[in-house]
């Protein structure tokens, strides 16, 4: 079943804007155990009731600080981690319970690019095998065509076709990330989950990869879930942005709204804290006190109330729901 290729190439796919991926109330809790019998004494709520829809051809940026659950969410989308609760719908099909061969068959539709291109590529495999392996495993291309396709993919991501004969250690960080992207593209996916895909790279190389991702999006009609801690990078690549805090989405909006008129106090603080490479910008800096609370003991009510400069009584008791407060702009905050 190689519908994926036909769909995107022929334009027979549903109109742009149709949902490609939907998360409904996704939760991922990790148990905390103690003692020899591994008694369950608590749980880490890494992702706690996250819902959103990704439209076809859209890039959704996910920002947040360490421990906010953004990477776990990416792993749940990829079905590397099983959700504790909630539903995951890809292309109209519920894939939450899919296992084994059926899941593997569907994996060609969604692929992941990881942060560390030194750890994510097998050092003993040639670049040609790394990029060609998914096509052989999934029998998505006749074996004799694989070398040609690999060469074409390598050129697509800006590498020399001869790179297929070499090994990962012969390449720099940026080039390795290109190899990882070529591998992710080899099955013509519709969705790529990129988890801190440019964070380990120097800025001059980071720009090369960001431009490449933009080109590939146009060329292949890709959708991205782009996970990063870097607010400027997320703004650059995304159509819409979700801000996560302690396992929850606190604000979700088109980037123009989110960066110009953030509604959630956490979004405001995050934006004001990001250092900009410009002099003479006088910005009001909102300094948050303290650290992010442990997701094993999340605060009652709003998860941000312990650090929020605008905290009210109701915030300590009642958890605010993510609701649309401005057209397209969703926020989980009692202020609105």
């Amino acid at each position: 079943m190689s519908l994926a290729i036909g769909e995107t190439a022929s334009g027979a796919a549903p109109a742009e804007g149709a949902p490609l991926l939907e998360l409904r109330g996704i939760k991922k809790y990790f148990p905390i155990t103690a003692g020899v019998i591994r008694r369950r004494v608590g749980e880490v709520r890494a992702v706690d009731d996250v819902s959103f829809t990704l439209r076809r051809g859209e890039t959704l940026g996910v920002v947040g600080e360490s421990g906010c659950g953004k990477s776990t969410m990416g792993r749940v989308i990829m079905r590397i981690a099983d959700p504790t609760d909630g539903r995951l719908i890809l292309d109209g099909r519920d894939i939450t319970q899919l296992r084994g061969g059926a899941l593997r068959g569907l994996r060609r539709k969604f692929q992941m690019v990881f942060q560390d291109p030194y750890a994510s590529l097998n050092p003993r495999m040639s670049v040609g095998s790394i990029v060609g392996e998914p096509m052989i495993v999934n029998a998505s291309a006749p074996r004799r065509e694989v070398p040609d396709r690999v060469a074409a993919l390598l050129e697509t991501v800006g590498l020399d076709a001869n790179a297929r004969l070499r090994y990962p250690h012969e390449f720099s960080g940026g080039q390795r990330q290109r190899i990882a992207i070529a591998r992710a593209l080899s099955l013509r996916p519709q969705l790529i989950v990129a988890d801190e895909a440019v964070s380990a790279l120097d800025v001059s190389i980071q720009a090369q990869i960001l431009n490449l991702l933009a080109d590939l999006r146009k060329e292949f009609g890709l959708s991205y879930v782009f996970i990063s801690h870097n607010l400027a990078v997320v703004k650059h690549v995304s159509d819409r942005v979700a801000v996560m805090y302690l396992g929850r989405i606190v604000e979700l909006a088109p980037k123009s709204l989110l960066y110009r008129t953030p509604l959630h106090p956490y979004t405001e603080a995050l934006l004001s804290a990001a250092p900009e490479p410009k002099r003479h910008v006088s910005r009001e800096r909102i300094l948050l006190s303290g650290d992010v609370p442990s997701p094993a003991k999340p605060p009652s009510g709003c998860p941000f109330h312990t650090r929020c400069p605008k905290v009210m009584d109701v915030c300590r008791e009642e958890r605010p729901l993510l609701q649309e407060r401005e057209p397209g702009q969703f926020v989980a905050c009692h202020l609105y």
Binding site: E65, Q175, S204, K235, A273, P275, P277, K278, R279
Partner: protein, 321 residues
């Protein structure tokens, strides 16, 4: 510059093995005056971290060697001091903060004792006095639970608290110079904002000079009075921060600024710098940025440009500037 607190002249640090000589720092000159913040900015392999380690004579031997240069702290050359004299400088006249507070702190020593140790060593006060002073120092860096924290171990603190404790330790002896190597790189942005704010406040209060090594131009814009831009072991541009940001002259500095996404601006496409940094074992003959430079000319590949002063305090290493 007359009133320089620290002056570095022609510093060269090489890593020598049988196969090759890696010129990590290859002829670096700069100076810092009292009360100023100097940022050294560069990408991986630019030599910025080896420069800061060289200042403290902490380069790993036997391969790593400072092959030439002078590091003058108020006129005294640190590179010519005995190891014993040098250890009177470290932590006393020059305080240090590193990127990873978890690996820089001793994991089996209580926070209070670690800070106290610096004072006992350099200020010759009793352990008890030192512990009391440690509480005070932790309070100064905004740690409210200071009196409990002195009895805790590093793993019990969060990343941001650990970095504050490191700063408290570095500031314990009221150093003339604080050397901070990527002090906020491992921290989240909201915590980074807290730590930068703290460093600025301490600097105003005590008049300490700061050398801040970073890859992040955002941090530079925020903190720097003066900037040194490094590329492939050398300084390619240096000058007052406003000059560097408003009138960058070296093609590398300009490319670096154009290559990053900026929140305040809409950039359709980023201007990536093609290629990669040349290997420090085989630098090209001419300008080390030539292969990646959009303005490259014939002479760039023939002759290494000198670092020339083109404006007040603003120097550039480029044939075209």
């Amino acid at each position: 510059m007359g009133g320089a607190l620290l002056e570095v002249r022609d510093l060269k640090t090489y890593f020598v093995s049988k196969q090759s000589t890696v010129k990590a720092v290859d002829g670096v000159d700069f100076s810092v005056s009292q009360g100023r913040v100097l940022c050294i900015v560069g990408e991986s392999g630019s030599g910025k971290s080896v420069t800061s380690l060289s200042l403290m004579r902490l380069v790993q031997g036997p391969q790593g060697r400072i092959v030439s240069g002078e590091v003058l702290l108020e006129g005294r050359d640190l590179l010519r001091m005995s190891e014993r004299q040098m250890s009177d400088v470290r932590g006393n006249e020059i305080g240090m903060i590193f990127q990873e507070p978890m690996s820089a702190l001793n994991p089996v020593m209580k926070i209070g004792d670690q800070i106290g140790e610096v004072l006992v060593r350099h200020r010759h006060i009793s352990r008890r006095e030192a512990r009391e002073k440690a509480v005070e120092l932790l309070r100064n860096v905004g740690l409210a639970r200071a009196d409990e924290m002195v009895h805790e171990y590093p793993h019990q603190l969060s990343g941001g608290m650990r970095q504050r404790a490191m700063i408290a330790m570095a500031m314990a002896c009221q150093p003339k110079l604080l050397l901070a190597d990527e002090p906020t790189t491992a921290l989240d942005v909201t915590i980074q904002a807290q730590v930068l704010d703290l460093m600025r406040a301490l600097q105003k209060e005590t008049g300490t000079a700061i050398i801040l090594v970073t890859h992040d131009l955002g941090v530079v814009a925020e903190m720097a009075d003066d900037v040194v831009v490094m590329y492939a072991g050398q300084i390619v541009e240096s000058g007052p921060a406003d000059e560097i940001f408003d009138r960058p002259l070296h093609p590398y500095t300009r490319a670096l600024m154009d290559s990053i996404p900026v929140i305040e601006e809409e950039r359709e496409r980023l201007r990536a710098i093609p290629g990669t940094v040349p290997s420090a074992a085989h630098f090209p003959e001419g300008c080390r940025f030539a292969d990646r430079c959009s303005l490259v000319e014939g002479r760039c590949r023939e002759r290494l440009p000198e670092l020339r002063e083109l404006g007040p305090g603003h120097s550039v290493r480029c044939h075209l500037a």
